[in-house]
Symmetry: C2
Subunit: 306 residues, 2 copies
């Protein structure tokens, strides 16, 4: 295989928002800086939600502002931010987010519980917000949440997902992520669903956002890769999920994903050794063993594959 892979590191947002402990800004900046140095091209710095609701994300504006001050380090990287509403969008625009990420759930129950809106209402709102971000000269990535199953509803029909994707495409948004919010995806399903959306638009960019709740994260990444997906969202140190509930699956672990890709002769320029150092530092900070594999084993000794 010889192709360009894009990594979107979502740990500072999807990972740290679930930790009970709010991580100090300087610690986040150290980790984000190290992730930039590893060669990760897109980093989700945080989300723009009400600070009283998610105190772990209260410093997102500050982080962006501070990261921008290091002009050399920040010049080669895209900073993304998750926005849920118009107020968050304006905050993101004010502090210089490059890429706005917004999503709609494909599960009616999940949509209502998460946003208080039906899927149809949420879709209209997100498309209007996305248009506003584009007008302001920003990149936009739209995602379908619960695309592979829902913790409330169980099965999510593929037509719900392709229908939402078609609305995004019709509105002119061509960077689209399918998110396995609950970690229900199986590799055959990943292949089918990405194949089904790919035929809707051959110019769109398809991203996968997978969770490792049931241990299928890397199997699902491989399945996505097989059907042409080149854009992966993952969390350093396997952060994500909730360590205080029974269903504790985090995002796909960045260093484990990079290790798999590099063993397949992909993404060789990312500094895996340094990614492992970051994961170990995260473990020291939280005083627990992180969920990934490669930070414990180290990478397989380097040798060329035939």
């Amino acid at each position: 295989m010889n192709r360009d892979i894009i990594l979107h590191e979502v740990g500072p947002r999807d990972g740290l928002q679930f930790e009970n402990q709010t991580v100090p800004s300087w610690e986040k900046l150290k980790w984000i800086g190290a992730l930039i140095d590893c060669g990760i091209e897109i980093i989700q710095v945080g989300s723009f939600v009400h600070p009283a609701r998610v105190p772990q994300m209260a410093d997102t504006d500050l982080l962006l502002t501070d990261l921008r001050k290091d002009k050399i380090r920040s010049s080669g990287v895209i900073f993304s931010g998750l926005v849920l509403n118009e107020r968050g969008l304006e905050r993101g625009l004010a502090c210089g987010v490059d890429l706005f990420c917004m999503g709609v759930s494909a599960s009616e129950t999940h949509s209502r519980k998460n946003t208080g809106m039906s899927i149809a209402e949420a879709t209209d709102r997100i498309i209007a917000m996305a248009a506003r971000a584009e007008e302001a000269g920003k990149k936009v990535q739209l995602s379908v949440q619960s695309a592979f199953g829902c913790g409330y509803e169980g099965h999510v029909p593929a037509e719900k997902v392709t229908g939402l994707v078609q609305k995004f495409l019709d509105a002119g948004f061509k960077t689209i992520s399918l998110a396995d919010t609950a970690g229900h995806a199986t590799p055959d399903q990943v292949e089918k669903l990405f194949t089904a959306v790919a035929v809707l638009d051959d110019e769109a960019e398809w991203a996968c956002h997978l969770h490792n709740t049931y241990g299928l994260g890397l199997a699902n990444c491989y399945a996505a890769l097989k059907v042409g997906v080149n854009y992966f969202e993952s969390s350093f140190a396997g952060l994500g999920g909730c360590p205080f509930t029974k269903i504790a699956g985090g995002n796909v672990c960045t260093e484990d994903l990079v290790h798999m890709l590099q063993r397949m002769n992909l993404k060789k320029k990312v500094n895996l050794g340094k990614l492992i150092e970051i994961a170990n530092d995260v473990g020291r900070f939280f005083e627990r063993e992180m969920s990934g594999y490669v930070h414990k084993t180290g990478p397989i000794l380097e040798y060329e594959r035939v």
Copy 2:
């Protein structure tokens, strides 16, 4: 997908041989009995090695003899045993092993360190032992160890593996397992190697024996499934590897594998709930959290996939 999948549970051997703590025979019998009740069709009860060298396996003959006494429970299951030499083979014949498993490493260094023999010497010896087992009316499964990479040598050329497989086939042995002893396999490699051996004989039965050292166990199982492999070796509770070294990867975890298969509408008759109970019992016995996922989360609530 609609196909027959065979599960070969190797935890009582490949798992328990690596535990510092020798598990009492009655505990092993409880677990093996429960695995039978779950609907696992082949169970590797132990290995026939010198009891002073691997005390964890010293009761293998006793276990087989005892399991045979429960005629109802043991009637639907195949008991396998690993044998390394002629003495072990005779012990296995004496206590009623159904399926003899024997292997040769594709890595010269691994072969010499493990057996004191070159690959060529080990191959001749194993083929002679396999012939003896077949003469005695037993089933035989031959495996290529370190088929996907070697902890000593690193890269193992595919030709080494196909060459060994060809020798097994030429000698008339058609149930062949490719073992990822060190856990180095990547999914693209699994696809390539099983595709390469499959063309050598379209009547042979191909098994995969994968380890999860770097978190790629299920991804590799999926890759094997994609290229037609129907026969999987795994360990209950994710046992295997060595908990006291840095490289701690166990075998592919049986309950996680079954969960993946069942979510793909395969192997639905295996009792996953009971497999999870066994894994939790193993965790209580060893007083540590086992490495799998599904024993922690429970299976995804049952719903039909489209």
